[in-house]
């Protein structure tokens, strides 16, 4: 799976991190992970807390040493290099700005440590301050800044020494919703303008889909799937990935016959059709789970065009749309999502018998 070219910005090879004495008694935070992150890529490590995403980031930064395996930065082995010798900078979750220094002193710190001459440092500090739109606050102490401003300073400080790779450890988690949305756009823009490879860690799937070129979904120290946001969302390989990212219906089905990457399945709820197969499908039996996104279902008028049918159990309204919970004869419930397009949609109410069509190419077989 990983492209082992010299072009990879970060090449993680069979890397494990075990806290404790050994695999049996200790905690396996990262379990033989291999991953290649390309140059100039916005790459996201996504997963619930404890999945190993932060551990992987800390291994790349050099705060921890891998128990097994190796990590290469643009083809160079990082083994044994302390953090201060790695051309990689980190934006910390709680920013970790130096409270005894001004904004400008914080930003110039890395350049001073690299022993750049003062005449060279000043223009770089001005440039990155401009990049994060903080020129006016250069002489402030960091405790006089708001959360969003501290975030920008942390970014500027990490970008100033022009790292080969920028690591971001859930940097947006402490911001409120609106500011977070704003910073998502900002980060994406910064990555584009600087051309630096960003490795972003988050547990927020929306954030991951909105910002990333590629996403790795992690759980229990393993990488479950790597792909661009589309692939991850539309063709989740595993049940966990499907469940973790967005809302999804998971239905029982039986494989009728297989053909390369696709298979013909019969849902227990009645419908028979084509579904995508995951890459590790050879391990799958014939009894499988099939995933369908709620927004890929729609109501149809009559039983003839319908793929599925059932009765509405529950309707929830969330502003931009509605979720309908539908109980099917198979005993399974299905969620159908409709965009809010005006008053005409109030036709469907609890108790109604409804007919449902499944969008083409919207069924995906999951492995566990």
């Amino acid at each position: 799976m990983p492209e082992q070219t010299a072009e990879a910005a970060i090449d993680v090879r069979n890397t494990s991190k075990i806290y404790g004495r050994d695999r049996e008694t200790g905690v396996v935070a990262l379990d033989q992970v291999s991953l290649a992150i390309r140059d100039n890529e916005f790459f996201t490590l996504l997963g619930p807390s404890g999945c190993g995403k932060t551990t992987l980031l800390r291994l790349i930064a050099g705060f921890e040493q891998p128990t097994e395996g190796e990590i290469l930065l643009f083809g160079e082995h990082l083994e044994g290099l302390p953090p201060y010798k790695r051309p990689v900078n980190t934006v910390f979750q709680h920013y970790a700005l130096f409270p005894h220094m001004t904004v400008a002193e914080n930003i110039s710190f890395g350049l001073e440590m690299l022993e750049k001459p003062a005449a060279e440092i000043k223009p770089v500090v001005d440039e990155v301050l401009g990049l994060v739109q903080m020129q006016d606050l250069a002489e402030r102490k960091t405790d006089q800044l708001s959360g969003g401003q501290q975030q920008r300073v942390a970014l500027a400080r990490a970008l100033a020494p022009r790292p080969k790779v920028l690591l971001l450890d859930e940097p947006l988690s402490a911001l409120d919703f609106k500011l977070r949305k704003e910073m998502q756009v900002e980060l994406k823009r910064l990555q584009h303008e600087t051309g630096i490879t960003f490795i972003f860690v988050t547990h927020d799937q929306e954030e991951a889909l909105a910002m990333s070129d590629r996403v790795a979904v992690m759980r229990d120290g393993l990488i479950l799937q790597v792909g661009d946001p589309n692939e991850i969302y539309d063709r989740p390989a595993k049940r966990f990935v499907a469940d973790f990212i967005g809302d999804i219906n998971i239905l029982r089905a039986r494989i009728q016959n297989r053909d390369g990457t696709r298979a013909r399945v019969k849902l227990e709820a009645g419908y028979e059709g084509e579904a995508g197969l995951p890459t590790d499908s050879q391990d799958l039996g014939d009894e499988v789970s099939v995933a369908i996104r709620p927004e890929q279902l729609s109501f149809v008028g009559g039983a003839i065009e319908a793929d599925l049918s059932g009765s509405i159990q529950h309707v929830s309204y969330f502003g931009s749309g509605f979720d309908y919970e539908i109980l099917m004869p198979s005993g399974e419930t299905l969620t159908l999502q409709l965009q809010n397009r005006g008053a005409d949609q109030h036709d469907y109410a609890i108790g109604d018998e409804v007919h449902i069509a499944i969008g083409s190419n919207s069924m995906q077989i999951l492995s566990d």
């Binding site: 930064a61 953090p83 201060y84 010798k85 910390f92 920013y95 970790a96 409270p99 710190f109 405790d143």
Partner: protein, 278 residues
């Protein structure tokens, strides 16, 4: 749930509304501070008596300042306290760094216990042990002098300097030092540019605590001090055996003033806003 908890907090924690609270509080304050107030008051008494007030004057302060015995004792006290403060604070800072900034190792708790030992062991035991130990060294080397007294003071000052420094280090966010390392600072520069400046309030508090503790030590000094090494507390003790004079009151009041100033400074250093945390 939340309502219940807050209701309970209101009921249980507000001790001020328990019957007898203010009476007990006033009793404690009077017992603690009345003797000190009397001491300060009579240091300004013109009369020789420490029980009958006649007239306000600074006479006893002038007398004390001119007393060569007091001058000498004060000088010895300051010399010992200053050197003990500097040395013990440096050692305590190093000890605090090792016990908070290295990965846990076998014997770490033992090391912490050893550092804090002077707080646990009865002072008179330490005093006797130190006396015997120094006697052996003196006999073996023939070296005498005030160095022994300073060494003894340094030793028992270490835990007092160690406590605020360690507390400050534990309070400090580790990610600040990691951020510095991440920004290309090798370990020594991380210490000089980030750890040390942020630790400074703790170090100052520790140093002042060490200074005060050294300044008013009696027991160990009594055992260890050689001829001509009479510190101020020892001098006061010696004078009191011959009867209390307002001169002693005056010296004690100055002593009290110094302590109050230092404790106030410790308080301000300890509560500055750059806690190293956000």
């Amino acid at each position: 749930m939340a309502e219940m908890a807050s209701a309970r907090a209101h009921k249980g924690i507000d001790l001020k509304h328990q019957p007898g609270f203010s009476q007990i509080a006033w009793f404690c304050i009077v017992v603690l501070y009345a003797p000190i107030a009397v001491l300060v008051l009579f240091s300004f008494n013109q009369n020789r008596s420490v029980t009958v007030w006649t007239e306000f004057s600074f006479d006893w302060y002038v007398k004390a300042a001119q007393n060569e015995g007091i001058q000498h004792a004060a000088w010895i006290s300051l010399e010992v306290a200053f050197v003990a403060m500097v040395v013990s604070t440096i050692l305590a800072t190093m000890a605090a760094l090792v016990t908070t900034r290295t990965p846990p190792y076998r014997g770490l708790n033992l090391a912490v216990a050893a550092i804090n030992q002077p707080l646990m062991v009865p002072e008179v035991v330490t005093a006797v042990a130190t006396l015997i130990f120094f006697a052996i060294i003196k006999q073996a080397t023939g070296v005498t002098g005030i160095g022994y007294l300073i060494a003894a003071h340094t030793a028992f000052c270490i835990p007092f300097a160690y406590m605020p420094i360690r507390a400050r280090l534990e309070d400090m966010d580790l990610s600040l030092e990691q951020a510095a390392a991440d920004l290309y600072a090798p370990p020594f520069k991380v210490f000089r540019r980030v750890t040390l400046p942020l630790l400074m309030p703790g170090i100052m508090a520790g140093a002042m605590l060490a200074f005060i503790v050294s300044l008013d030590d009696v027991i160990i000094t009594l055992f260890v001090a050689g001829p001509g090494e009479t510190t101020l507390p020892l001098y006061i003790l010696g004078q009191i055996r011959r009867g209390v004079t307002p001169e002693i009151n005056a010296v004690s009041t100055v002593f009290l003033g110094i302590s109050v100033i230092l404790v106030t400074l410790i308080f301000f250093f300890g509560t500055d806003k750059n806690k190293g945390k956000q």
